[in-house]
Symmetry: C3
Amino acid sequence: MVKAADFKNKHFISMMDYSREELDYILSVADKMVDISKESSDLAKGKVLGSMFFEPSTRTRLSFETAMFRLGGNVTTVADPMTSSAKKGETFEDTISTISNYVDVIVMRHPDSDAALRAKKVAKVPYINGGSGTWEHPTQTMLDLHCIRYAKGKIDGLTIGMVGDLKNGRTVHSLLKALRHYNVKVYCIAPDILKMKQEVLEAVKGKVEVIEVSDLTENMPYLDVVYMTRVQRERFTSQEEYDKVKDSYVMDRKMIEEHGKKDVVIMHPLPRINEISTDVDDMPNAWYFRQVGHGIYARMAIIALALGLWKD
Amino acid sequence: MVKAADFKNKHFISMMDYSREELDYILSVADKMVDISKESSDLAKGKVLGSMFFEPSTRTRLSFETAMFRLGGNVTTVADPMTSSAKKGETFEDTISTISNYVDVIVMRHPDSDAALRAKKVAKVPYINGGSGTWEHPTQTMLDLHCIRYAKGKIDGLTIGMVGDLKNGRTVHSLLKALRHYNVKVYCIAPDILKMKQEVLEAVKGKVEVIEVSDLTENMPYLDVVYMTRVQRERFTSQEEYDKVKDSYVMDRKMIEEHGKKDVVIMHPLPRINEISTDVDDMPNAWYFRQVGHGIYARMAIIALALGLWKD
Amino acid sequence: MVKAADFKNKHFISMMDYSREELDYILSVADKMVDISKESSDLAKGKVLGSMFFEPSTRTRLSFETAMFRLGGNVTTVADPMTSSAKKGETFEDTISTISNYVDVIVMRHPDSDAALRAKKVAKVPYINGGSGTWEHPTQTMLDLHCIRYAKGKIDGLTIGMVGDLKNGRTVHSLLKALRHYNVKVYCIAPDILKMKQEVLEAVKGKVEVIEVSDLTENMPYLDVVYMTRVQRERFTSQEEYDKVKDSYVMDRKMIEEHGKKDVVIMHPLPRINEISTDVDDMPNAWYFRQVGHGIYARMAIIALALGLWKD
């Protein structure tokens, strides 16, 4: 039986480290945070989060900092890789050891893919991976899971569509891998050249029923949740090819009203460009801005658990 | 009858939106903040201010952030226009919608003159205009009004001098417009080429008695409040012309002692260069540094009202 | 008899301003902060620290900000010299006068050596020198004293080694000067071209027993505390000369086990490059990372005393 103490003083590095039971536990703590975030909390009073963004990511930083404030704690921010020390030749490991003596918990975003795994070995306080190069960004996946569960009341039994660039999107790769723990059906809806990465499909083989298709309109009626992603011009060799594809993977009011389930949930990791039309923004189906708020709940849960502040 | 509830969840965009009664109400709340700021407050406990300075303005930022801390709240700061999202093509409206899901109240400084009006349409939490291009910077005007009222005990009945560059100074334009609600006499004291902007004079016509003059010494004896501004070299075509003018609009100890009322109040939006001599600094008439503190009281009032934290 | 009230509303500018009794008093308050920092404190509730780093120093900034948070206060950060105001021609003195009206206490790091002494004259709230050019960085010395006292239980009677570049290191200069108040023996262990600065030796003449030597291994057995410093390539005229020296002033596990006292305390102002081998890191003698934590305790004491929050 999973309990709060299992997470105390532990690092939060990779989604691969958690079982279904552990994920469900974290999500249930995040549920409690929805209410706590509305009131003022003293849970993390006197605690300090070191918010270390050695690569800019304003949204992720805002989300973590707000999460810590909502818990009643404080935040000290470093927006550059402690340049002077690094220039003098300090190792990344020494930087982490030093920071461990300032703060109670570290969140770090780092351009290097191995940063989180290296930090884990030397950090003397809980280290939360806020995105490590092209490797994992696990709190994004936790917020996506929490938003789905909150919007639909459950994850098991859902049919989820992932739409757009499924080849290059870190977000959809992580989410699909995390969904291997749940009983879901996933439609991967993408043009041929942007199909879901083979490696990810293999990771969920036999665990998630994946249906690969290329037409959104046709498959829209089956979907409980649609996770949209950006289709970027630079992935295509010609403008013509891009234009053709781009227009096929756009979510608009008409698509939802004519082809979607009444309560279909539209998500997006943001920023969106034109793959979701602004005429969707005031529909109850539009969850992509509210999704951001679930980042705060999920991160509150992760911080509170790591600091040992949560009691069962 | 104006009451706290009238301001709850409302944006604070333009001085033009407020009646005399509303201004007086906000100023009276700011009066209460003078005492509250000396003690610790839990009024805004658990609330988060998003301090978004997409154009640098250290003073305004410090003032808002300190105001939030004095109310017992917290602050998350963004000092750049969320570059990565903007580069990916995110609209300003989407940025505001996203931030609305992180924080309880937004203060934004933005280089675009239409930023505040655009933000107002999409912000789901109160949006406070911290300066919008060459358009309004309304909290500066609130602090000026509060400082005058605090220093003199009233605004009605005062004779106020505005001195220096009245053609280009946004601060004096806004202040004069705001004074249309009060029964005041205003001396606009400036060289011919820097006279008060015609458009502003028209806006207060019939409401404020404006006297346009060019000599400071001669008119000094009438003034209860003197609002000094910088005269910038680049406004003049020749160094000679600049030098002549510059020396005529300088406030010093001699000017106050020989020509001013005993309790004349000297104000300045800062930074001052040489238009106020440092020999004034330790005179009781020097209000320009204390004026800064009134920025905190006024902003505490505006934040507390917008968040619905103030009870009548 | 020294008491808390002696420090209330006072600036903290130079180690030269304090007597032995005053240093001991501050260190004893820092002792109390070790426990207070583990719990949440309301000592500085509602107070705001202005963290003004006009020269980057991430570690010092983190340390001060965390110190303020641990006391229950808040922090507003300025990472640049208020560029726009300075560009408009504002004097440093006016900047300090202005900031004095925002915050309750100022910590400033400044590239100019006379910044702290200039600020002291105009600051209307306590001003703490966080490093002023090549002049003093007194809180670093306070943390070093506190770490020594905490690690060894006392300062009097100790034999302390300073190792490496004693000619150029501001840290060891200040520490040695501060030790003139204590009954200690100091081994200055350096190559001829990097010997302890003559001016510093004169300042402690007759107060500290200083032994100048060049061999670390030989003198290691006498030392209770070893304060290591970086030996920088650019101090040498040839690579050959540098290589020879560099290898003679390295602390490693073998040096400690074969030549050191069992409980010798190894310190370093950090960042370390290779002058302390990583094989020392997990020895109980390694105090250099914990030393960082003493920066928080010392700064908590200094802030609490300056704000008049500490009661005897």
